[in-house]
């Protein structure tokens, strides 16, 4: 599967707009794999309870997932986008 990035999180993933993650069975495991690869992303993406911050939206193939839906299964050609509503800079 592939992550697609834009916006304010881009700087935490070395400005790579697409990142492939292999062998991730669920959305949650893909996110964990991603933050292992880009450690500075962890604090930007997750809150103190290790949940995706409410300011970000996880979108799976165009479908917006709730923060609690990180157990959704992933398949080879899935695309996950992480969108940020707005930044307060």
């Amino acid at each position: 599967m592939k992550f697609r990035f834009s916006g304010t999180l881009l700087r935490f993933v070395d400005y790579r707009k697409e990142i492939a993650v292999e062998d991730a069975a669920t959305v949650g495991s893909a996110l964990q794999s991603l933050v292992s690869q880009y450690p500075s992303l962890r604090g930007a993406l997750f809150d103190a309870d290790s949940k995706v911050r409410s300011t970000h939206r996880i979108v799976l193939n165009g479908e917006v997932l709730g923060r609690e839906h990180t157990d959704r299964a992933l398949f080879e050609h899935d695309r996950l986008e992480i969108l940020t509503a707005i930044a307060g800079g």
């Binding site: 500075s40 300011t55 940020t84 509503a85 707005i86």
Partner: protein, 279 residues
């Protein structure tokens, strides 16, 4: 009387075209003076973000050129700014005035929406009215009723204006948001909008729409912009430009469109901003 912030601003050639102060500069200077003044009063944007979890996102910006001002008019001008907070806490507006010898030359307004930052390093946020701590930073006479400060109205205004105007040109230009077009969080900077759309309009003229040279030979009398969605560093968007003439007045109406959705078409690009230049 709302608290007024004032600074003397030295003029350099880069602030001006041959006709006037660039709209981007008129906006940037005004906000800079306004925020500097708020900071001196212990209510700076930095402490609003770090102590109160509130940041500001611009939803509307406008510049009105009232009297001529060129680089050779003076060595410096006076820039003044005061703020107003809508009583529902949803709109904080900077009222800006650039003047010379007591005469107002350029008026500008920047309306911002308070947002609640998550506390993360990305400065990610969600819209939220100014909280009690932030509201307490503003004096009674800086609070204005909701009806005195509408959030957005440009779409409706444009629809009315173009009804009896003649469309005299149109085109679409690509847009890349570079880092210098962005603020601290890599989100596009409101003040860049006048420059981004002006370049798109100028490209249309250089592409052969010679009868539209009025847009280069006359100063802008008014710039208005409204923001609907953010764009970010690295986004590839489009600017749709339509030029209209009504009597002696020419206007360029710009629709700034964001990135095409994955597997989507250009028609699915979201509207991120609307801007009107009036000549």
């Amino acid at each position: 009387m709302p608290r007024l912030h004032q600074s003397e601003i030295g003029l350099d050639t880069g602030m001006f075209s041959v006709h006037q102060m660039h709209p981007e500069v008129a906006l940037r200077l005004g906000i800079s003076v306004g925020l500097g003044g708020l900071g001196r009063q212990g209510r700076g944007l930095q402490s609003m973000i770090t102590s109160h979890g509130t940041a500001l996102v611009v939803v509307r910006a406008e510049v009105a050129y009232l009297r001529p001002l060129t680089f050779f008019s003076a060595t410096s001008i006076i820039t003044e700014s005061h703020v107003s907070l809508r009583d529902d806490g949803n709109l904080l507006t900077f009222h800006i005035r650039h003047s010379l010898a007591g005469e107002e030359l350029i008026a500008a307004r920047v309306a911002t929406r308070p947002v609640a930052v998550s506390g993360g390093p990305a400065l990610d946020a969600v819209p939220a009215p100014a909280n009690g701590n932030v509201r307490a930073l503003f004096d009674h006479d800086e609070i204005v009723p909701r009806k005195a400060a509408p959030t957005r109205y440009l779409k409706a205004q444009v629809q009315r204006w173009v009804m009896d105007a003649e469309q005299v040109g149109e085109g679409t230009q690509p847009l890349l948001i570079g880092r210098n077009d962005c603020e601290l969080a890599d989100q596009w900077l409101y003040a860049r909008l006048p420059s981004l759309v002006a370049t798109a309009r100028e490209q249309l003229l250089f592409d052969g729409a010679a009868d539209l040279s009025v847009c280069l030979s006359r100063p802008i009398t008014r710039f208005q912009g409204e923001f609907f969605r953010p764009m970010y560093f690295g986004d590839h968007g489009q600017i749709e430009v339509k030029l209209y003439r009504r009597g002696e007045q020419t206007s360029a109406v710009h629709r700034v469109l964001g990135e095409r959705p994955p597997d989507g078409s250009d028609e699915e690009r979201p509207l991120c901003a609307l801007a009107v230049e009036t000549f």
